[in-house]
Amino acid sequence: MYVAVKGGEKAVKNSQRLVAQKRRGDTRLQKISMDQITNQLGLGVDRIMAEGSLYDITAAAMAIHQAQGDMMEAVFLVRAFRTTLKRFGNSIPVQTTKMTAIRRVSGIFKDIPGGQILGPTYDYTHRLIAPDPDQGPDAGSDRHMETDTAPPNHAAACEDISPLPEELPRVIDLLQAQGLLQQDDIRPPGDAAEDLTRQPLAFPVSRSLRLQALARGDEGFILGTAYSLQRGFGLDRHPFLGELKVGYVAVRYTPPELGFDIHVGRMKLTECVMVNRQDDAARKAAGFETGYGLVFGQNERKAMSMSLLDRSLAAEKNTGKTDYPARDPEFILSHCDNVESSGFVQHLKLPHYVDFQSELVFIRNRRKDHTPDKGNR
Amino acid sequence: MQKGFDSEVFDSQAVFRNLLLAMANPGTIAATDINISCPERLQPGAGALLLTLLDFETVLWADLDPETPEMQWVHFYTGTRLTHAKNRAGFALLTDGEKLMDPGQFDPGTAASPDRSTTLVIQTRGMDQGPQLRLTGPGIEKETFIHLAGITTAFWDNRAMVNQAYPAGIDMVFVHAGRFAALPRTTKVTVC
């Protein structure tokens, strides 16, 4: 007699054991320490914190390790941890003009107050895989590859850099001073009442929630859809980089029982303001409009893509047009979260026997019909 | 401050579970055997419900002053925000049900968002006397009966008016001492 398949419990346990084995790999090799991850895979940690929407370096490093470097899996681990944390209150909005910048560039003015700061970037490196990137050019390479990764000699690297100013005025304030910006474009809203992690998205969506969704959205999705704008699927002219800044800001919080604000820590952030020409003559004065991006850690491509989308998604409100995906808030914001999308795509691995059986029964009955396609009997 | 729940986790789960079944089976009387000590004008059933439902994300209207020990107690244990506007409240506490004539003063939500409505917690003077009420609707197999002392006939007429705008409407939980019964907006009430 037929006996139904059993053994799900055992299979799950064995699978988990195999994962643990794969993660550890060859036991003759040393285990990676969390310090190694936070120090040497810092940009990966930054990405996990951004998409995990939790500024916790240790949790992000643990997640990367536990997920064997699978970044989306690591984001998921951090999110599932974050969701159970108790809320104490809302911090005071961070002041990015007071950021201690390690990097600051503008594509619209050659000289900006406070100066441009190139800082650490891969932008001007030649992407040649080096046997040991920390040893600088030529080291140990029998192929004599020229790499541009400088040796980590901090004293030498910083010698000729003058001290950074305490405050860096916003580049867009220059445009603002000349009355060239739309008033509502200047600052992102600081409405603390809205929190994407505690309320579902409802459309039309406020700018505050839109920025929250983009800031924790999947880097690849945000990048790809921003790219589609640049290729004409939603933008009809070239956007400009007003300002891109990476650095550290202080986080301050006012405990209700104290009544004054206290410093609770520092965060590394990437902030971007994108500038577009705006000359919808029928409605507004000619000028510029801006898009805003702010991401945990150093992630310039994410912050830039985010600011492009912030602007294009605002356009629906103005024109009512959602002709391209990257201009459609419901399309972008409902699909940019990789914990959601990865889960739902992969759930197809779960059994669907019952549903498929229903389809089989339907199809077999259809085939029994003598006049299958005449309809309207 | 008088004592709230012994265990936030398990007491609120037990009360909620009773409330869920009460809301799903309108007219059924649920009892809480939770050990709780509320200030005078708050019946223990009402206190337990408020502690179960409210937190810093809710907005409560009450027929008591924010400075009363009752409201201080509720605020201390839940952190709920308080409002003076009935039509802005997610929850409302009515310590004296007899004074409540028109539930239409609260927020019934809209056709698109009928869930954005006020839920009333109403203290009564008993569930054994008072006019007999016949209940029908979802959650009730055929019909069921309940007594709620200290609720006026005018109230039932007004309730029917508000709930005519279904799916918009007002859900309510009636309390006496440690017992409570729920009437969602779908329940039709006839005073016998």
């Binding site: 889960g343 026997y353 019952v354 549903d355 | 869930d115 969602p184």
Partner: protein
């Protein structure tokens, strides 16, 4: 890093939020209540909506049954049961009659449910109008103003094309003469079990952040037309294990020439019927 989790994983603030949504869902049968869905430690699509509902409802005295495709022993059912055993320390059971909470994916047990029991459905796409109108901003209005014409048109197009309504699972229903609702991807065979059922039926969609419900003794009618009434799947044979002719049957392919047999999808029902007791 201090890593400790609450009873049934979720923190109390999250549970309260979900509980408030459940009450609204029960009060407005079939209406999809938007809620601040949380990330769960299981992936979206694996039943996060159902797990959040169960976590908000469950207490230490509960007996939890979890099924997937009707079976207690599929990997996902096992995994969810293990999750609640670990985080809530509760008792689990396979016995439908003994269970106080039954979390399910894609089936309703064959054994009739009782008043007081809570069914928790895992829902991938809560919006029955999703494939007619993908925009939530639109479907919210369609439900609000009871604009269901497009749904009837779609079903009627099926009849014109195929001579019958072509939906085999997740077959739309109308609840309490008002809302059109997705019963989740249960086979349409299970739809009549919802109609005036004595149990509470809670539906959770984690990714889409919606909760909805059918209270006990509530009308749940599968959409149809007078001349094309709703019909159930029929099998020619009986279950090869217990001989049942009144349960939903899974098709098992027994060799590589395509020989088929049919057995009950509800494994617990099948075992009981064939006289087996289980641990």
């Amino acid at each position: 890093m201090p890593l400790s989790y609450n009873f049934a994983y979720l923190d109390e603030q999250s549970k309260k939020m979900i509980r408030r949504s459940i009450l609204k869902a029960i009060a407005i049968p079939g209406f999809q209540v938007p809620f601040g869905g949380r990330e769960m430690p299981l992936p979206y699509g694996w039943g996060t909506g159902g797990i959040q509902l169960t976590a908000a409802v469950i207490g230490p005295d509960d007996r939890l049954k979890v099924i997937d495709q009707g079976s207690d022993d599929t990997v996902n059912a096992i995994s969810i049961k293990a999750f609640f055993k670990k985080t809530a320390g509760i008792e689990t059971t396979e016995d439908t009659e003994r269970a106080t909470i039954i979390q399910t994916r894609h089936r309703i047990p064959e054994t009739p449910l009782q008043n007081g029991q809570i069914m928790v459905f895992q829902v991938p796409i809560p919006e029955p109008l999703q494939f007619i109108e993908p925009k939530k901003s639109q479907t919210v209005k369609m439900h609000g103003f009871e604009e269901y014409g497009s749904m009837h048109v779609k079903l009627y197009e099926d009849i014109a094309k195929f001579g019958r309504i072509a939906t085999a699972f997740d077959y739309p229903v109308q609840v309490h003469q008002r809302y059109i609702m997705s019963p989740s991807p249960i086979p349409k065979y299970d739809n009549p079990k919802l109609h005036r059922s004595p149990a509470v039926h809670l539906f959770g969609a984690g990714r889409e952040k919606r909760i909805y419900a059918v209270p006990p003794y509530t009308d749940v009618v599968s959409l149809d037309f007078e001349d094309y009434p709703f019909e159930l799947e029929k099998w020619d044979g009986a279950c090869a294990v217990c001989g049942s002719t009144d349960s939903f049957l899974d098709e098992i392919i027994t060799d590589d020439t395509g020989t088929r047999m049919f057995i009950c999808s509800d494994t617990e029902y099948c075992q009981k019927k064939s006289g087996n007791t289980f641990s």
